[in-house]
């Protein structure tokens, strides 16, 4: 059951600006470092508000909905319901957040792993604030910092290998500004899952930001399942910094929210790092999903790989913007970016903008973006062998998306096969539901 608040007519932007004003006074009680940072962010967001399509980074993603239309919020029913989504059955340590607020402490955490509320961590140790990225030029990050509700603070001590994954569960029913800080000390190894979802039909706005810092030789497997309510607005800003010999293996499954943006800024600051930023989007109805990646190679000998696959049905819109920037010192960089979208309906739209900026001379960069349809010849071939049309379509779409799913590397905490299987099951369920609707 979803209850609506009474006669809410203010726009989202307006209500957020009011909230900023209301919170400004309360900042006196936080540490001077955090106060300065949040005051600055409040100023930044209050000056600019949400970006418009005149801003190059937002040319395809229209936020007028946030600026101009009355915003309704479900009354925050702060009860966690149940584990759902692609990672629900994985054996993991779990932190459960409702609207960004941690529900109880995690129990039985092993030595070397700290996983707690970021708000609590900032109170205990003000220096932690220095690890949060400055929000200049990033309006959503500024908003997140300005109103910072809570989120997770995760720190893995040097040389710690964890025997199972850590799972952050974000159950949302109302607006939240969620901030996570993930610090892996040298040679630490962590597998981190994130699930984002809410009650069916709930309307809310969630603005996530994650700061990820990998010390030399550290390894983070980071897999996200974005399955927000079909009426939700979901934003995610990842800011990752990779030192030498690190491995970051990222995968995002995007299937929820009415409007979403998953933005990643990776800074490869050390040599011989390996970064995978991969994902699958499955959209229908009038969903809009934006994936924006900026891969900054600043040190020599590193590799980055971006493989995105999306299927779009109904009147949905997909946006992909990807920039690979190779600075002068980043010789012997090997960077690839491969974006493919499949349109399942004549009304679906995909906009892709791959970009390269290369200042080093000894590099290998390959990028490509394509938009296509289901291969009718292949469809007929399968049907001629007796496979029903719906199943044949599901088989072909699943195979197309699998290019990205198969990039998932896994680790000793959980092997790639199991994770890929979970994601394939979720994809197949989505395809089956879609095809059921089509056949009604």
């Amino acid at each position: 059951m979803v209850k609506w608040s009474m006669a809410e007519t203010a726009t989202l932007e307006h209500s957020l600006l009011s909230e900023i004003k209301a919170q400004e006074a309360g900042l006196a009680s936080v540490s001077p470092r955090l106060r300065a940072m949040r005051q600055n962010a409040m100023k930044l967001f209050s000056e600019t508000g949400f970006p418009t399509r005149k801003d190059e980074a937002w040319r395809w993603t229209d936020l007028s909905l946030l600026r101009e239309q009355p915003h309704r919020v479900t009354v925050p029913a702060a009860d966690f319901q149940k584990l759902e989504g692609a990672f629900a059955d994985i054996d993991a340590w779990r932190l459960i957040f409702v609207n960004g607020v941690l529900q109880g402490e995690a129990s039985d955490l092993p030595p070397g792993l700290c996983a707690q509320s970021l708000r609590a961590a900032l109170q205990d140790d003000a220096v932690i604030a220095d690890r949060l990225r400055d929000s200049a030029g990033a309006p959503f990050l500024a908003l997140n910092t300005a109103l910072l509700n809570d989120g997770a603070y995760i720190c893995v001590a040097a040389d710690t290998q964890l025997s199972k994954p850590l799972h952050l569960v974000f159950f949302n029913t109302g607006n939240a500004q969620i901030r996570n800080l993930v610090v892996l000390e040298p040679r630490a190894n962590l597998m981190l899952f994130e699930s984002h979802y809410g009650p069916t039909g709930a309307e809310y706005f969630v603005n996530n930001a994650s700061d990820v810092q990998l010390g030399e030789g550290a390894r983070l497997a980071h897999y996200r399942d974005q399955a927000e309510s079909q009426n939700a607005l979901h934003f995610h800003f990842l800011n990752a910094r990779l030192d030498a010999h690190t491995v970051y293996d990222g995968f995002t499954l995007t299937r929820g929210a009415r409007l979403s943006r998953s933005e990643a800024h990776v800074e490869i600051a050390g040599s011989d790092a390996l970064c995978g930023l991969n994902g699958v989007s499955m959209l229908n109805g009038s969903q809009i999903a934006d994936t924006t990646c900026v891969m900054n190679h600043r040190a020599p000998g590193s590799r980055s790989n971006q493989m995105f696959r999306s299927v779009l049905d109904g009147k949905s819109q997909g946006i992909f913007q990807g920039l690979i920037r190779v600075a002068k010192p980043a010789q012997r960089t090997d960077a690839t970016q491969q974006i493919k979208a499949m349109l399942l309906s004549p009304h679906a739209v995909q906009n892709s903008k791959p970009e390269l900026e290369i200042f080093a001379d000894d590099v290998k960069c390959a990028h490509g973006a394509s938009v296509g349809q289901l291969d009718e010849a292949a469809l007929f071939y399968l049907r001629a062998r007796g496979i029903a049309e719906a199943q044949a379509r599901a088989l072909l779409i699943g195979a197309f998306l699998d290019d990205a799913v198969s990039q998932i590397q896994g680790s000793d905490a959980l092997d790639a096969g199991q994770i890929q299987l979970n994601i394939r099951d979720t994809i197949n369920t989505w395809l089956a539901q879609k095809l059921v609707i089509e056949n009604v």
Partner: protein
């Protein structure tokens, strides 16, 4: 089994078949020969149900039922098999997975129990051995990166495991060298059965040395211009299509 009457077919506004009559009975092998562009492949697609063709006149009955009203998968379940001239590559779908889907989709539609992975594996491996198809090939995506000969052998493998009642083989000999031709020819011949009919579409007599037909038809400009026994194929091979088509 199959009764085609006065069949006229158009595609993209152009008439391709202009009045085909053909009767095929269980156990028979019919060869359809003819020059390029005569409508041979169109006939095979009409039987298998490929979208994009319009039947403007005539009828196609299969065991007395109107075939043209059925979707391709229903035809397959009722025993129609098309061996493709150009088998389609399907990246990302392993051949064995594809075969399992196909076998079980057909079984399910006939109300039979589905086979488990082991049952499918046994069935496929038995037939694959005869066609010299390796276990490695079965793990690879359907037709992706297969040579011409491998693709055609894989078509015959599918026919062998799906056990159709009416097999339409569209230029199964194209792109095959002598050894592959023998392998495919023997494979097809091994599948001849009293309750199974075949329509073998080909340009050349050479495939018919391996698969000996009961009837040979010449298709030219969308019509069957001559029909006869296996000796007609030899005559065509000797004298070319010119005489037959124009005569």
């Amino acid at each position: 089994m199959l009764e085609i009457k006065n069949l006229h077919v158009s595609a993209g506004g152009q008439e391709i078949l202009r009045g085909i009559d053909l009767v095929v009975k269980a156990g028979e092998v019919h060869a359809i020969m003819g020059p390029n562009g005569s409508g041979k492949s169109t006939l095979s697609y009409i039987l298998a149900g490929r979208p994009g063709y319009e039947i403007t006149q005539g009828s196609v009955l299969y065991f007395g039922e109107d075939l043209t009203a059925m979707p391709p998968e229903a035809r397959a379940a009722k025993g129609i098999f098309l061996g493709f001239q150009y088998p389609v590559e399907i990246p990302g779908v392993a051949t064995m997975t594809f075969l399992k889907h196909a076998i079980n989709a057909q079984r399910k539609s006939r109300g039979e129990d589905e086979l488990d992975a082991m049952g499918v594996m046994k069935l496929v491996q038995r037939e694959a051995g005869k066609l010299k198809i390796s276990a490695d090939m079965l793990k690879r995506p359907v037709n992706a990166g297969f040579s011409g000969g491998e693709k055609k052998r894989c078509e015959i493998l599918q026919m062998a495991v799906l056990q159709p009642l009416l097999a339409v083989l569209d230029e199964t000999d194209s792109g095959l060298d002598v050894d592959a031709l023998r392998l495919v020819g023997d494979g097809v011949t091994g599948l001849r059965a009293p309750d199974r009919a075949m329509i073998v579409i080909t340009h050349y007599q050479r495939l018919l040395d391996h698969i000996v037909p009961d009837f040979v038809h010449v298709l030219a400009k969308g019509k069957i211009t001559r029909s006869g026994g296996k000796e007609l194929a030899l005559e065509l091979d000797r004298e070319g299509y010119g005489e037959v088509v124009n005569g």
